[in-house]
Amino acid sequence: MELPPPTGAETRWVTEAAAGSGRLSDATLTRIREMEARYPSARSAVLPALWAVQDELGYLPPWTLEVVAQELKLLPGDVEAVATFYSMYFNHRPGRHVVQVCRNVSCGLRGSDDLLAHLQAELHLDEEGNSPDGAFTIEGTVECLGACGGAPMMQVDRFSYENLTPQSALEVLEKVRVQTDGSGGAR
């Protein structure tokens, strides 16, 4: 299976220092201010701002919610309410690749449970779906991912992989790991 070319967000390496620094990069702050200016109301920029933060750090450490609130002149609670409502915002660091295995009706009818079970066993996932080497966080409870024509499917970061078998899904992940993480997993 051909892999799409890696992009910035997939190859980003988050260091503990950046996530704990209490400072967002200038590029992220600029992005937030640009978004704010594009909406009739600054508050509308909350979701895009949180995306900008998560693109930089991989998740939303608590201090970043305060930074976003300050930028958009909101209360920290306003931002936290949003950050905790939407399932795609992480409040903890996920693996380097976030994998969503769709198990809704169409994928379920075509074997997604077996697929997920295979990945869980082969990649030795913990209860939260993390692989021990930090390469993957695999989520099996997600919305229907809108690719029922290629069921069963999974989404790795932003890319869909469709018409999978348990074996081919594992092969995809092994390729993703080698292609974007270099040596094959070791951080």
């Binding site: 809704n104 009706v105 169409s106 075509r110 989404q155």
Partner: protein, 426 residues
């Protein structure tokens, strides 16, 4: 060969780029629309009989007509939060025909005298969001978005707004709250968005597929569009067929003149030479139908009379090896996960439903527990704040009514009896 609307340019090279779309006549309908003026566009939409393609099938012209006459600013929000289980047509329309959507959005924005339009796209569709953003950039450079569009004196900003994983944001008022930077929870109606929507201003929320029809309706005329279907179900529709079929996919077909059986055949029939046990038309929210319904036309009323709905245009086929308790459990789990928590019947009801279905699927629920299912669902359907909670009961209850023995045989069976019997047969 039927006349196509949404997919009529299928296979044209470079269709995702502005140049490719212009080569097949793209953005000519926008020029024509601007020359026609807002009233004439609205008249064509009315003549087309177009009904919303997001699930509720509300007549588009009527929705537009609810906007108060002299209240500005107004907003247009495109609902690209597609996440109905079994539904993937909007994804196809955005991935393959992004400029057709943008042209439809711009035509509608002009007709509604809107200067700010938003496309709210679900967070999982990240690559589709970026594709749309690129398309908007191209359209802006060509003078189709921004100030004084095509010299008309009309300004329109178009912003692609990404969600972050919440099915409820497909409900139009939850979408508006999310777009305003809040938790995506539904609002009390009335007032309806047409009167008080985004930022408290008059707002129209239309689905991706609905607006993708606009370039055709403007360039070919509403009457011609309507005539593609039947009087009661005008036009064409992009149906998604998935599940136990040989070739799942999307198929654009005339409404009213096509049957479920036609769709099933287009998708190569039931897979592995098996028989169909049941189907779900309309998406995860809709009631189950059986093989006896295969010859029903894709007509709003015919499907409603059979006790279901065409919903968002998805058709999921289940073969004779399917355990419907398992399918229902999956769907109920989905609603439990996606319940926004605002109202008690949905938040608690989906929890109880899901717990019960898990015990039933595992064969450890008693008959007394199963008897509770109808009670739980009766306390949800019609009593929830928004349709999410109501629809969380429709599939499971309709499946129970159609296959009561299958549900009852799970009680105290110790495991799933359907899967066991299939395993023995194979």
């Amino acid at each position: 060969m039927n006349e196509l609307v949404l997919t009529r340019h299928q296979g044209a090279p470079g269709l995702t780029t502005l140049a490719g779309y212009e080569k097949v006549g793209g953005y000519q309908a926008l020029r024509r629309a601007i020359a026609m003026g807002p009233e004439a566009i609205a008249a064509e939409v009315k003549a087309s009989g177009l009904r919303g393609r997001g699930g509720a099938a509300f007549p588009t012209a009527t929705k537009w007509g609810f906007l108060p006459k002299d209240s500005f600013p107004r907003y247009l929000c495109v609902n690209a939060d597609e996440s109905e289980p079994g539904c993937f047509k909007d994804r196809v329309l955005m991935e393959e025909y992004p400029h057709q959507l943008l042209e439809g959005v711009l035509i509608s924005a002009f007709a509604l005298k809107v200067n700010h339009a938003f496309i709210y796209i679900r967070g999982e569709y990240r690559s589709q969001r970026e594709l749309l953003e690129r398309a908007v950039g191209e359209a802006r450079r060509a003078g189709y978005v921004g100030r004084n569009i095509l010299g008309s004196g009309w300004d329109c900003e178009l912003l692609v707004h990404g969600g972050a994983g919440a099915y409820i944001c497909g409900e139009e008022t939850a979408l508006l709250d999310s777009l305003e930077g809040r938790r995506g929870q539904p609002r009390l109606k009335p007032p309806f968005p047409a009167v008080k929507g985004l930022y408290g201003q008059p707002t129209v929320v239309n689905n991706v597929e609905t607006l993708s029809n606009l370039p055709y309706i403007v360039s070919e005329g509403g009457a011609k569009y309507a005539a593609l279907g039947t009087e009661a179900s005008p036009g064409t529709r992009l149906f998604c067929v998935s599940g136990h079929v040989e070739r799942p996919g999307t198929f654009e077909v005339p409404m009213g003149r096509t049957t479920f059986r036609d769709l099933l055949e287009m998708a190569g029939g039931v897979w592995r030479g098996r028989q169909m046990k049941a189907m779900q038309p309309g998406g995860g929210s809709m009631q189950i139908l059986g093989p006896q319904h295969l010859d029903l036309p894709l007509d709003f009323k015919a499907v409603a009379d059979a006790g279901s709905s065409l919903g968002a245009g998805a058709l999921v086929i289940m073969d004779d090896s399917t355990c419907l308790v398992n399918v229902a459990m999956r769907l109920v789990d989905f609603y439990r996960h996606e319940s926004c928590g605002k109202c008690v019947p949905c938040r608690e009801g989906t929890y109880f439903e899901s717990e019960l279905m898990h015990r039933l699927e595992a064969g450890i629920a008693s008959r007394a527990e199963l008897a509770n299912l109808a009670d739980i669902c009766a306390n949800m359907d019609g009593r929830c704040f928004c349709p999410l909670g109501d629809t969380a009961t429709w599939f499971v209850m309709s499946a129970y009514r159609m296959f009561p023995e299958e549900f009852e045989s799970h009680c105290g069976a110790g495991s799933c009896p359907v899967r066991e019997s299939v395993a023995v047969a194979v």
